[in-house]
């Protein structure tokens, strides 16, 4: 415990140490000056000191707050790993499909492999009695080529095999990543905007505004997410909303349910910040309400917001996967990670046979969520002035 405290303090003092090192150097330079030259030196001393000062300022790096955060962020191994994973996943999903002009192993997202694929063999015995009354068994053997290559094994043209529709799994993993990775941004940004406005209002004005908004937050906290999403999904079907726009509208609805948490956090922060001295100063200088809110209060909530947004992105990937798993997503020809993991709702005898159809998707989901969480945790530590570890 003590050791950690010491370590923590040492890290905080890093910049200070640099300064003290420099000043000791300064002292060492001064010492060898002989007594004879003292009187001469004295006259120059002022000048020299000025030079020394300039020198010192050059050597001590004054880091801007942003640079301090960046430095702390990159010091943590986990957050760097998270960042690299995210970059790899984004490149894989956005640049990967372009390879379809280069190699035969990358397909379009709804491009069916029309080659016959494996041959289905039906080997069915049937029994009959022959003229003598003896039981006979005849075997009927049918081998027919398929119209398209479904449930294909791993092969040079299908590095992860094909699924039940004859789509290439690897390519769909890329196309799915495009949607699953970016969808979260829509949700999180909308959620945060609503949360800032309502949470800010509640925290700043207090009294009945606070009371009203917080009760609404309570109500939204009690709404069960998945079943409500199901009803919304049916409603969109009823109003003939198709394919991708359905997915985006569903995500927008998700924000309508999810803003409550953000609002609660913003409110708590604003309640705390409102009582700080600098806000009293802002009050005393007679700043306008607008300026106080957007220039003095919100920037101080921003670090927490960025952290919760990053952690939220991982959560949205999981939600999308769960919705897809429950079959509430988009039609089959559009690839999303949730859509692909949907294969797990079929019989065990089917998906147990083709792990290539669901294991890679699952790994991608877990990797993406972990990466977002690592980056979020790293940002939280980086933003925390007390540098809690």
């Amino acid at each position: 415990m003590e050791e950690k405290e010491r370590q923590k303090r040492a890290e905080e003092l890093l910049v200070g140490e640099e300064i003290s090192n420099l000043s000791s150097q300064e002292g060492a330079e001064k010492r060898p000056v002989s007594e004879e030259t003292v009187h001469i030196a004295e006259s120059v001393a002022a000048l020299e000191e000025e030079e020394e000062q300039e020198h010192l300022e050059d050597r001590v790096k004054m880091l801007s707050p942003g640079a301090v955060v960046a430095k702390r962020f990159f010091r943590s191994k986990l957050s760097v790993i998270g960042l690299i994973t995210l970059i790899v996943l984004f490149v894989f999903s956005f640049a990967g499909p372009l390879l379809q002009f280069v190699t035969p192993a990358v397909w379009g997202q709804d491009e069916v492999d029309r080659s016959p694929g494996k041959i289905v063999e039906i080997n069915s015995p049937y029994e009959y009695d022959d003229i003598d009354g003896n039981d006979q068994v005849a075997y009927e053997y049918i081998a027919s080529p398929n119209a398209f290559n479904f449930d294909g094994p791993i092969s040079p043209t299908h590095l992860l095999g094909t699924d039940k529709n004859g789509y290439d799994v690897l390519s769909r993993l890329m196309y799915g990543g495009r949607i699953s990775l970016t969808l979260g941004f829509v949700v999180v940004i909308l959620e945060t905007l609503i949360g800032i406005v309502l949470g800010g209002l509640a925290g700043y004005f207090g009294k009945w505004v606070d009371m009203l908004i917080m009760r609404i937050v309570d109500i939204f906290n009690c709404i069960p997410q998945l079943p409500i999403m199901l009803i919304i999904s049916y409603m969109l079907d009823a109003n003939n909303v198709e394919a991708m726009s359905k997915l985006y509208i569903m995500m927008a609805m998700l924000t309508l349910i999810g803003w409550a948490g953000v609002a609660r956090m913003v409110r708590g922060q604003i309640l705390y910040l409102r009582e700080q001295e600098y806000m009293m100063a802002a009050e005393a200088t007679g700043l306008s309400l607008w300026r106080k809110l957007f220039k003095h209060l919100l920037p101080n909530v921003l670090p927490q917001l960025i952290v919760s947004m990053t952690l939220g992105l991982g959560g949205i990937i999981l939600t999308e996967a769960t919705l897809g798993y429950l079959g509430l997503g988009v039609p089959d020809e559009y690839a999303t990670w949730g859509n692909m993991i949907n294969v797990l709702t079929s019989e065990v005898s089917y998906w147990g046979q083709y792990p290539n159809q669901w294991v890679p998707v699952g790994i991608c989901i877990v990797l993406a969520v972990l990466a977002f969480n690592f980056v979020g945790d790293g940002l939280r530590d980086a933003f925390d002035p007390k540098m809690k570890r």
């Binding site: 415990m1 950690k4 009760r215 609404i216 309570d218 109500i219 906290n221 009690c222 709404i223 069960p224 998945l226 079943p227 409500i228 199901l230 009803i231 919304i232 049916y234 409603m235 079907d237 009823a238 109003n239 991982g314 999981l318 996967a321 769960t322 798993y325 429950l326 079959g327 993991i341 797990l344 709702t345 065990v348 998906w351 147990g352 792990p355 669901w358 294991v359 699952g362 989901i365 877990v366 969520v369 972990l370 969480n373």
Partner: protein, 328 residues
Amino acid sequence: MVKYIIKRILLAIVILLGVSVIIYSLVRMMPVDFITTQFSDQFAQNNVDIQAEIERLKVFYGLNDGIIEGYFKWLGKMLQGDLGNSFKYSDKVSTIIVENMGISFGIAFAALILEFLIAIPLGVKAATKQYGVVDYTASVLAMIGTALPTFFFAAICIQLFSVQLDIFPVNGMTSTLPIDASGWTRFWDVIWHLILPVGIMVFLSVGSLMRYTRTNTLEVLNADYIRTARAKGLGESKVIYKHAFRNTLIPLVTLLAGTLPGLFSGAMITEQMFGIEGIGLKAYEALKAGDIPFIMGYNMFLAILTVIGTLLADLMYAVVDPRVKLTK
């Protein structure tokens, strides 16, 4: 105390009313002819008179009346415990919920008890030996628990233990036993079927509970009275298990009280993966079939459980920790 409880209950009622308004407006947004066309085959399958059923639906949700009048009529029925009639199961929604929630609760409760039994001692251990093996295990488990989707983890476990190794059954609650099998055999059979689902539930949530216990214990260990206890010259184990541990329990008891009602809601995905006939699986099947009255009733049921959970947690907090003042 009584005043506080009454205030909290009134607040809970207001929240539930709000939830019911939202749920009701969702029903109103749905075109009626959509329901007719969507479910006519289903009614035909179950030999239900379509017109009568649609009419009953309209009456139940007050679709023939104005939106406000309709809402209050629907609310009146809800207050009498009438959650509507399910299309899929052709029975009252409330009956289906009550009949099936027992199994869900049993499984979730077993998982919860196991979680607490594992997480509390290990969490305390992690706090006293910070940055030790147990501590890192807790962090890793917590990370896995938040990032691993239940269905993916369950699929891997089924693939590994049931399909490849053939140790556990793939799904279901019972296997086909001889008719004269004794009670014990049947009991062990059920346990054998439930090891995998319960194990998965525990594994995915034990990490965060461990972290929670750890944080709480750390906070308590920094308190003044712990320093006093150490200064008195008490042994380390006495300090931790007699002085610190009891105070660590305060937030955990609150947490437990808050979680209990939610156990009735069923784990939709785990139950679906393992084919356990609980309320979660029923809801999933209704969801697949587009059984709107059931989903509506289930939503209200979940909302009520959540409200009771927060209420219990707040009250419990006041009961366990005498420092909390109730006149808020």
